[in-house]
Each structure stands twice: as C-alpha cells, then as structure tokens.
C-alpha cells in the first residue's frame, strides 16, 4: 500500500499530539452528545413539569371554581342532600392529597357563640373558632370566616377546623379582594410557623344573584360563605415529578414563593441528594416562573443525569469513530514508520554492506580488479595495487598495461582469459602467472578472471581476482622436500627411502639387474647421546652423513635415514660380494671417523645387514625385516661387521621365527588358542592339596605347542606381561567357578608370574584390580615367581610380593637353586613356599650331593618357616627320599602329568 506518508518524516510526538487532540475531541464530542441529549430530555422534562404543574394548578383552581359554582347554584336546602357536592368533592379529590376544600361561613361577632353551638350539634363536638392575634378589623362589626367544614377529610386538615382564616393578614386581603371583586383570589397559605408550602384560594358565595350591582365596599355584607381550597404545592410538584421524572435521576426542585417582597419561602424536594452534592458530576439547572391565581411562583429544577439518561449510543458511536480514527492513524503511522525504518534499515544495510564489501576488498589478501569491456580498469583494491606496485588512486587506464613487456607470454595468457570472460562469458583460472614487483623480484600470481554482469545480466566487463602465491609455492616446495628428506641429515627419510627401495626392487625385476640393500645401525651412538646430549648426537649424524657417507658412496647410491641411528643404503648394479666389500669399507671409514664435541672425542661403529635385491620376489617390508634381522645378527656377533641375509642362513631363520611370536601370541589370545593346564602336587606330609596352573598354546593348525616353544620368544620380545595377565585372569575365573560349584575345594592353585611382569609398575595395579574383588579366593591362590626374575629386579619384585601378601594370597619362589640361591635374600622375601629346582631333585635318589642340597634347602626353608616343594619328581624312589627329608610337597610327572584344566 502506497501511503502519503512515504515521503514524510514521522516523529512520534507529532502523531501522539494529533491522536491526543482527536481523542480529547472525541471524548468531548461524545460527552457533549451524551449530555446534549440529556439536556434536551431534561429540558423537556422540566417543560413537562412546569406545564403539568401549571396545568394541575389550573385544574385545581377549576375544581375550586366548580365547587364554588355548585355551591352557588344549589339551594341551601338541598346542598347536603344533593349528592353532587359532597360526592363530587370526594370524587374529584379522591386520592388527591394536594388539595383540600373548606367552607368558610361568614360569622358575625354577635352570632359566634350560636354558630359554635350549632356546629357542635352537627357533630363537631369540640368546635371552637380560633384565629391569629392580628387585629386589623377596626371599622364596623367584627366578622369571622372560620373553617367550618372540610369536605375531603384528612386528619391533618382537621387542624384548621374552626380556624378564622379572616384573622390572618394574607388571607384577609385575599378574602377582601375576592369578596369585593367577586372573583377568585389566592394567598400563600403558609405562615411562619407552618411547615407546608401551599396556596389558599377563595371564592365568595353571596346571598344575592345580583352582587355585581352592589358596590364593592358593600359586598361584604352580602357574602354568606367563602369556598376555600388549599393547594399543597410540595405534594403537587412532588407527585408530578415522580410521575414525569425517571426514578434514577437525581434532582432538586426548589419552590420559591414570595409572601411579600421582603419575605420569601423556598422549599426543596430532593432525590439522590448525594449525587447532587458530588462536585464532578455534570448538573443541569432549569428555572421557570409560574403563577397561582396571579401569585408568582418560581420553580427551579436541578438534575444530575444517570447513565441510562445519557445518550450513550451516539456518544459511543462517536467514541468508536474517534478511536477508529486514532487506530487508523496509528496504523498509518506505524506502517509509515515501519516502511521508513525498513528503508533506512535497508539503506544502512546496503551502506554497511557496501562499506563492508569495500573494507573486505581492501582487507582482502587477494587483489581485485574490475575492468570494462574494453579492458579499462574500473576499480582495483589496495592489494592489487600492491601486487602491481602502482598507486591505487592513480592506476593506469588499461589493465594489460600493468604487465611489463618482458613478460609477453604471461600477457598473452591474461589477455586470452580476459577475452574469454568478456566475450564468451567464461571464467578462467590462471596459475603461477609471473610478475615483477617493485623490488624487481619475480612473484607468482594466481588469477581468476570472471565476466562481470550488470543488473540485467549483461556483461559489462571482467573481474580479476589476484592471489600472490609466491610464498605458497615456496611452501609447497618446502613441504615436498620435507616429505621426502630427513631434516637433520638432508637424506631421504624413511618414507621416501622405502619408495626408492620399491623402485629399486622393481628396477631389479625389470632390468634383471642385482642391487643391494644395506641396513646400517650405528654402534655406540647411544653413548654419545647419553653423555654429550642429543645436540651432539644430531651433530654427529650430520657430520657422519656429510663427511663419511656422502663422500664414499657411489654416485647412483641412495641413502636414507630410517630411524634415530639407522640408515638405509641402496647400491645399484652390484653383487653381494661387491656390496659386502663396500660395506666393510664403509665400516672401516666410520670406525675411523672421530667426532669431537666440546673437546671430547667420540667414535662410533656400524653394524650392517645386507640383503640382495634381485629376482626374488621380496617386498619392501620383507627386505627391511631381512636386513634388520641381519643387522641384529651382526650386532649380536660383535658389531662393526656386515651380515648377509641369505636364504640358507639358519640364524636368520630362527631369528625370523622368534620374531613371528611377537604377533602370534597376541593373535593366539585373540583366537582363544591359549589353554590352561593343571599339574597337581602330592602333599607328602598330609598338607593341603596343591596344583600348578600351566599355559599351553595351540598353533594355527591345532597342534599343541610346549611352553619352551613360545615362552622364550615372549620373554625376549616383551610380551610375557600380556601372557601373564591372560593366565592370571583366566585362572582366577576358573578358580571362582570351582568354588561356586564345589564349596569344599581347598586346593591351593599356583599361578606363575614372569620376571617382566614383576618389573613393570603397571602390573601391580593389575594385580590389585584383579585380586581386590576376589578376597574370599585369596587363601586358595599362590603366585609363583622364579628366583632369577626376583633377583633381576629385587626392589620391584619385593613391592609386588608384599602387595600379593597383603591381598591374602600366598607366594612361592620357583626354581630355587638354579640361580643365585642366596638364603640371605630368602629371609627378606615374604614367601610361603619354596620350590626346589628340579635339577637337584630328578636324580637325588642316586646323587648324594643333590640329595644333600635338597636336604639343606628344605631344612633352611623350615627355619624361615617356608614350606618346600620338590619339582621333577618322576618316581617313587624320589618320593620316598623326599618324605625321608621331610619335603612338604612333590610335583612332577611321577605324581601327575599336566592335563587340560577343564572347569
């Protein structure tokens, strides 16, 4: 929606003011409408009240006149008999309390007593004439006009019975006027003591029908009776108001009469006075002069509207329309503001984006240049100016002018890309475009040339994004170098050397030529590192590389650093003898190489494993392993020598086989090919039953392997710990099962722990983790530790042994006698059993020395309160000997051959 406010500014205050004005105007109008209606209605009410009052007064006066006329026309003889007067008066005044009719007969002073007596006889038992003390009848006979009959009897009117009306000045004048003028006259009936507000009306009745012929001053002589009526104004007005005004309107009516110019009387009639006294409520006042028989009367009406009297519908309509306008204005303003805000926001956003784009372009690491279709530069950012060494504020006109003529080939590439973008709408990427910078250095640029479209999609030029890739290119080359070369020595690294080795193997196959691969491992290099530091070691390697290797190697040889002090060397087109010879020479050269560091002289050697690269289908890995193994052998054989890894070299094969256990044992565990066996012992002195848990392995083909086939390899290559952990875990589970199945089993099961495990701190944690939750089993567990294992790392072994003891298990020292066999140590070990090495046992029944050893061991053990177990017990004779000695347990094939431990 297009609003006229679009081009205007909308301060809220302005529209708040407009809305407020409209709101106030609406309120005022609504209020005015509501009140106006009430004003009109109230005015109508008042007019009605006035009219009705006047009308009622007229009616009452007519009634009075009618009564007087009837009285006049009836003979005195008939007036009581005739129903009209009495009934008529009663009929017309029935239910009217606003008028009373009185008969005022004229009584002369001389007839006053007779008159009173007559009235008493008529039933007015206590009738007496009374009047005011005013005495203004000075001339002639005194006459009275007492109230002698009240036609519409009301108790309150009876108080006037006998009242001489003529004795009151205001009535006196009115009666005289009525009599003398033969008319109806009125007087305010109230006196200062009266509490009502009324009008007395008088009409004379004469004794002649020709009163008009009689002079006015003489007419009093002819008057017989005054018919008087009293109109009670308050009652009349109140009745009319109650009849005409709604009950919920608060009003105050003031009836003001003037008894004389100096004496007025005001009577108030009110309804809901509390509203009238509420200052903030609107009040309307109306006033009107009335008359009763020429007597002025002022009627004032004050009203307060009630809600029901207010014209709420048009007021509400106006209010609604007003609010509608305010709402409309609010909507328009809001919409205008929203649009303006949106526009401003859009402009700000655009500006911001523009600035941001500009800042981005300015801060970009890439140069950006835009051209028109003719190749004229339209824009270039500071980076572009920097790249081309020009002033960004004053660039050359043509883009191509940025390139020096010397780089014609580059110019052609760029020109071609530019044309492709502008004329063919294709983007092009150019890499490593050469450029000469301000320092005359050649830099390399990557360029992306793209067509530049205007709003309608037409090409209006080209955008060239330039990136200085000089440094990136350098880095790429560096990384490439780092990927291939050892940063310390500058030789090929292991990765690249393996690549070269692979090429050599391929080359040998392809060209059917023989090459040689040498695995070089420096000797004594560790000494340099440990004594002079790694910097010295590094320096030694660098010097060795530069001064020994590089100087003595043939031109086509490939040398690489494979590890810390390990090198690989490929010699091309060479047989083994020549290669061996070359290696011997190299060994000599190295042995003669003296490295001086901080005044100290160091000499190193080298052991070389040699592998022929020929038609054998060896892989790189196989070559490496073979050379490594040969190098290991060379080291074992005394170092500074070369060992050739030929197919018939049995040492190499064994070495290979041992190495294979490194991966076979873990695989056997994974494949569940390790099994526990048990060998029970014989308690020779009625002791508790003992059994040793042993481990066996099934090979890949299912054949059972003896421990001697894999334990040495496991010990050599550091996988005994893995093996021990499996054995301990599995044995504990089995023992747990046995105890669950048979609670009466008291066998003590011995489990072996290797020296490697014992030396490892982590093994302590393993022992604690495994044993802690099985404390009830501990009395039935015994760990066997070989004497040599304990002695090789006594401190760590003692720590482990104490831990095991603290957990509640028992300990046995295995193979006692095979090693150092020091009883001095024995006394410090927390062992429970001592297993006497089988070498002393197996022929003790024949060899007295062995028997004596066994005896001594046993006796000493008992001194330390350690029980003894004899191994390798193979026959009854031995058993008998052992019993004779007192050895506690016997173990061996003669007792029980190991069998699979089936749980």
């Amino acid at each position: 929606m297009k609003m006229p406010f679009n081009k205007m500014h909308f301060p809220w205050l302005k529209y708040l003011a407009v809305s407020t004005i409209i709101f106030i105007a609406t309120l005022w109008t609504a209020s005015w409408l509501a009140q106006e209606h009430f004003k009109k209605t109230s005015n109508n009410y008042f007019v009605s009240i006035v009219e009705k009052t006047q009308s009622e007064i007229s009616t009452l006066i007519s009634l009075h006149v009618g009564v007087a006329a009837n009285t006049l026309t009836l003979s005195s003889l008939e007036d009581h008999i005739n129903s009209n007067l009495s009934l008529y008066i009663n009929a017309i005044s029935k239910n009217r309390d606003d008028i009373a009719f009185f008969a005022l007969p004229k009584v002369t002073d001389d007839r006053l007593d007779a008159f009173e007596k007559k009235k008493q006889e008529e039933g007015y038992l206590n009738f007496h004439v009374f009047g005011s003390s005013d005495n203004y009848q000075q001339n002639g006979d005194i006459i009275y006009f007492p109230v002698s009959d009240i036609q519409n009897n009301r108790v309150e009117n009876l108080k006037n019975l006998g009242r001489d009306v003529y004795s009151y000045l205001n009535f006196y004048d009115a009666i005289n006027t009525a009599v003398e003028k033969n008319t109806t006259s009125a007087a305010w009936s109230h006196t200062s003591s009266d509490n009502h507000h009324g009008t007395a009306i008088f009409s004379p009745i004469y004794d002649t029908n020709y009163i008009d012929l009689i002079p006015e001053k003489e007419r009093m002589q002819h008057v017989q009776l005054i018919i008087s009526s009293e109109i009670f104004l308050e009652r009349l007005v109140k009745k009319i108001i109650n009849e005409l005004l709604p009950a919920d309107i608060a009003y105050r009516v003031q009836i003001k009469t003037m008894r004389n110019p100096k004496e007025s009387r005001t009577t108030e009639l009110t309804q809901l006075a509390e509203k009238l006294d509420t200052p903030w409520l609107p009040k309307l006042q109306f006033s009107q002069e009335l008359s009763i028989a020429d007597k002025p009367l002022n009627l004032t009406l004050t009203v307060v509207p009630s809600l029901t009297q207010l014209s709420l519908v048009p007021a509400l309509l106006v209010l609604l329309v007003g609010l509608g306008w305010i709402w409309l204005i609010f909507i328009l303003v809001k919409q205008g503001l929203s649009q303006q805000q949106a526009r401003e926001q859009a402009q700000k956003t655009l500006e911001s984006e523009r600035n941001q784009a500009k800042r981005t372009l300015n801060s970009l690491g890439e140069g950006v240049i835009t051209t028109d279709n003719a190749g004229n530069i339209q824009y270039l950012n500071p980076k572009a100016a920097e790249l081309f060494s020009i002033d960004a504020q004053d660039p050359p006109k043509l883009f191509m002018a940025l390139f020096p003529e010397s780089l014609i080939s580059e110019v052609e590439k760029v020109m071609s890309a530019l044309n492709e973008a502008i004329y063919n709408n294709n983007s092009a990427q150019l890499h490593n475009i050469k450029m000469i910078n301000q320092f005359n250095d050649t830099i390399l640029l990557d360029m992306t040339v793209s067509p530049l479209h205007n709003e309608v999609g037409h090409i209006q030029g080209a955008t060239i994004v330039l990136e200085d890739v000089t440094h990136l290119e350098e880095m790429r080359l560096q990384i490439e170098k780092m990927a291939k070369y050892d940063h310390l020595t500058g030789l090929y690294n292991r990765y690249e050397f393996e690549h070269q080795l692979k090429n050599a193997i391929l080359s040998a196959h392809k060209t059917k030529q023989q090459h040689a691969f040498c695995y070089l491992d420096l000797d004594q290099f560790k000494v340099v590192n440990d004594t002079a530091g790694h910097l010295a070691g590094d320096q030694l390697l660098k010097q060795l590389t530069g001064n020994v290797f590089m100087l003595n190697l043939p031109g086509n040889a490939v040398l690489g650093r494979l590890g810390g002090d390990e090198f690989g060397l490929i010699l091309f087109n060479i047989n083994i003898e020549e290669a061996t010879k070359f290696c011997q020479q190299l060994i000599n050269d190295i042995r003669h190489f003296v490295f001086i560091w901080q005044g100290k002289r160091f000499q190193v050697g080298v052991s070389i494993g040699l592998v022929a690269i020929d038609l054998q289908k060896l892989s790189v890995e196989q070559c490496l392993i073979a050379a490594d193994t040969a190098c290991y052998l060379a080291k074992e054989k005394g170092r500074n020598r070369v060992e050739y890894a030929s197919a018939d070299n049995s040492e190499i094969s064994q070495r290979h086989e041992e190495l294979s256990w490194v991966e076979r044992i873990p695989r056997a565990i994974e494949e569940n090919r390790l099994k526990l066996f048990i060998q029970r012992m014989l308690p020779l002195n009625h002791g508790v039953r003992h059994a040793e848990i042993l481990v066996r392995m099934y090979d890949e083909q299912g054949s059972l392997l003896l421990p001697s086939q894999f334990i040495p390899a496991a010990e050599r290559y550091g996988i005994m710990e893995t093996l021990d952990q499996w054995v301990i875990k599995t044995a504990l589970i089995n023992i747990e099962k046995i105890h669950q199945m048979s609670a009466g089993d008291t066998t003590i099961y011995s489990i072996n722990i290797s020296g490697q495990s014992l030396a490892n701190e982590k093994f302590l944690q393993f022992i604690q983790t495994e044993l802690s939750p099985r404390k009830t089993l501990m009395p039935f567990i015994c760990f066997e530790i070989t004497e040599t294992a304990v002695m090789s790392n006594l401190t760590q072994a003692l720590q482990c042994m104490h831990l095991i003891k603290s957990m509640g298990a028992s300990l046995a020292l295995d193979d006692f006698g095979s090693g150092l066999s020091s009883f001095t140590y024995l006394r410090h070990m927390p062992i429970d059993y001592l297993k006497i090495d089988g070498a002393f046992v197996q022929n003790m029944h024949e060899d007295k020395i062995n028997r004596a050893i066994v005896l001594n061991i046993h006796q000493l053990s008992h001194v330390f309160n350690v029980k003894t177990i004899a191994e390798y017990v193979e026959n009854k004779e031995i058993i008998n000997e052992l019993r004779t000695i007192g050895v506690d347990f016997a173990q061996g094939y003669g007792i029980h051959k190991p069998e699979a431990w089936l749980v």
């Binding site: 009836l74 003889l77 008939e78 009581h80 008999i81 005739n82 129903s83 009209n84 009495s86 009934l87 009663n90 008529e122 039933g123 007015y124 038992l125 206590n126 009738f127 009959d149 009240i150 036609q151 009897n153 009301r154 108790v155 309150e156 009876l158 108080k159 019975l161 006998g162």
Partner: protein, 322 residues
C-alpha cells in the same frame, strides 16, 4: 431436642418477633358478625389499616344480647385490653363506647378512636383526652325537605323500627328535629315481622313512614316484606340505612365505609404521634341518595328533580344478577 419441636418454636419466635414490630389495634365491634352495617365498617377499617397495625376484632352483639350480658361482655373485653395493652382501641358504634370505652378507658393511657356513635357522643363521656372520632349524624332536616316535596303536605311522620335502645335513641333524635320543624312523629318499635306489618298498617295514618333497621326484627322475610309493602303501603317511605333500600322509596344512606376509613386514618395519625385530643371530632359527611323506582312508580309521589337527577337508582338484587 427434636427438630419437630424446634421448627414450630422457631416459627413462633419469628412470628412473635414480627408481631412485636407492628402496632396492635384492638377493634370493638358493637354488633355481631353478619350485621351488614358493622361488617362494612369493620371491613373498610381492615382494608385501610392493614399496613398500620395488627388488629384483633372483638364483638358485643348489641342487637341481640341483653344489657346485663353486654355489660359483662364489656368487662371481659376491658380485661382483655388491660391484659394485652394494645396501642390503640377502635370502638365502632355506640355499644362499644357504652360498655367498654366509657366505663374503662376514659382518659386512660390507651388512645381510643370511636366511630358511628349516633347523634351525640357526650352521653359516653366524650370528648375525652385520649379519644377522638367521627359521630354518626343524619341530616334529618334536609331529608324532611325532600319528604315535604314528595308528600306536598307533611305534618306527621311515623317511625317503624326495631325495639333496641339505639332505635329508640334514633327515634328520639328524629322526633326532636321533626318537632322543631313542626312535624309530628309517632314511633312503632317492633320485635317480629308480623308486628312490623301491623305497625306499618297503623302508620298509614301518617304522611310518611321512616323505616328504621330491620336487623333485630325476628322472622323477617325480605321478599314478603317487599311484596307486602307494595300492596299494603300507600305512604311515602324513606330510610337512612342502605340495606333498607329494598323497602323504601327514598333513602339518604349513611356510608359505613366512611366510618371504617376514618377510623383507619385516625388510627394511623395517632400511631404516628398525633395526640387524640388535638384531632377534632367531626360528623360523617357522606350520604348517598337512592330511590326505589319499583315502589315509587306505584305511588303518586315525586322526588325533587335535582334529587331525581343525582340520586342513585336502587337496583334489586335479582335485577343486578343477570
């Protein structure tokens, strides 16, 4: 306590509490229930005073009971008033003032409103400090004018009425006025219907016959009385009581409702604080002229034209009911 006992007691408590809020009026009817005159006074009072006070009604049966009995009854009622201490006593007709107000309540603490005392209340001790009321008058002289006009030559009037004390008082008052106006009067007080007929025959000697109340006349037969009068009476008959309209040619009937209404107005004013002595005693004002066309047409008598024009035509009951 059982609920059956609690509820009635609670109701009584509520009722008595309600009653305690309203003033109590003690209404003494001089006659018995069923006497039309006093019934109509009482009924009007009951209507007009229903919001003014709680009224108990008591009867003297003055038309039937002996003087002695009435005196005893008066004592009983006076005792009851002393016991109940009502806020006001309304004495309707003479006997109530005669047997209760005058001997027991005069100038006492309890205000008294009387209505319907015939002619003169002074014999009962009125005016009193604690009493006011409306005396029952009848404009005899004015009626005589009408009778004079109808009969043309009025010298003698006969009264045929019941034999009660009130009827005798009426007769005396009328006689006094007649005599004052040069008209003779003979009164016949009868006890039964036959005597009444005889009295009417005897009254033919007069120029006009005033038929007083028939309420105390035994064996009264309305239909027979009407038909008998049509054949045996040749004189102008008139009455002052509306219920005698079937038997007379003209009546200027007093209105019992006027007395009942006034008694209620006075009761209200006094209960609202006006002192009885401040309120003048006044006579009744409302008189309703009736003429009985069926009887008049049998005679040569003519009512004055103004009376004829304004008086109400008596409608026999059978003519009223379709």
């Amino acid at each position: 306590m059982r609920i059956q006992f609690v509820l009635p007691l609670l109701s009584l408590l509520i009722i008595s509490a309600h009653d305690a809020c309203a003033a109590s009026c003690f209404y003494i009817n001089s006659y018995h229930e069923g006497y039309e005159w006093s019934d109509r006074i009482q009924a009007q009072f009951a209507r007009d005073a229903q919001d003014v006070c709680r009224t108990t009604y008591h009867y003297l049966n003055a038309k039937n009971d002996s003087v002695e009995k009435l005196k005893n009854k008066g004592v009983e009622i006076a005792n009851l008033i002393a016991l109940q201490q009502p806020d006001i006593v309304i004495a309707a007709d003479d006997a109530a003032s005669h047997y209760v107000v005058s001997p027991f309540l005069k100038n006492g603490r309890i205000p008294v409103v009387y209505v319907g005392i015939n002619w003169d209340p002074k014999p009962y001790g009125y005016p009193m400090d604690n009493a006011t009321g409306m005396t029952e008058m009848w404009p005899v002289e004015d009626v005589l004018s009408v009778v004079q006009h109808a009969t043309r030559a009025l010298q003698q009037i006969a009264i045929v009425t019941g034999s009660g004390a009130l009827e005798q008082k009426d007769a005396e008052e009328i006689k006094k006025i007649c005599n004052r106006n040069g008209v003779g009067l003979t009164a016949y007080f009868v006890n039964n219907f036959e005597d009444w007929k005889k009295a009417v025959i005897n009254a033919q000697s007069a120029d006009a016959i005033y038929l007083g109340t028939n309420q105390a006349i035994k064996n009264w037969n309305e239909a027979e009385a009407i038909s008998w009068l049509k054949t045996h009476n040749h004189r102008f008959t008139f009455a002052s009581l509306g219920f005698m309209n079937p038997y007379v040619m003209f009546s200027l009937s007093k209105s019992p409702e006027e007395f009942g209404h006034w008694a209620a107005l006075l009761t209200k004013a006094i209960l609202n604080g006006d002192q009885p002595w401040q309120i003048p005693i006044i006579p009744n004002h409302q008189f309703i002229p009736y003429y009985n066309e069926s009887l008049l047409n049998l005679t040569p008598f003519k009512l004055p034209s103004t009376i004829q024009r304004h008086a109400l035509k008596y409608m026999p009951k059978q003519e009223i009911a379709p």
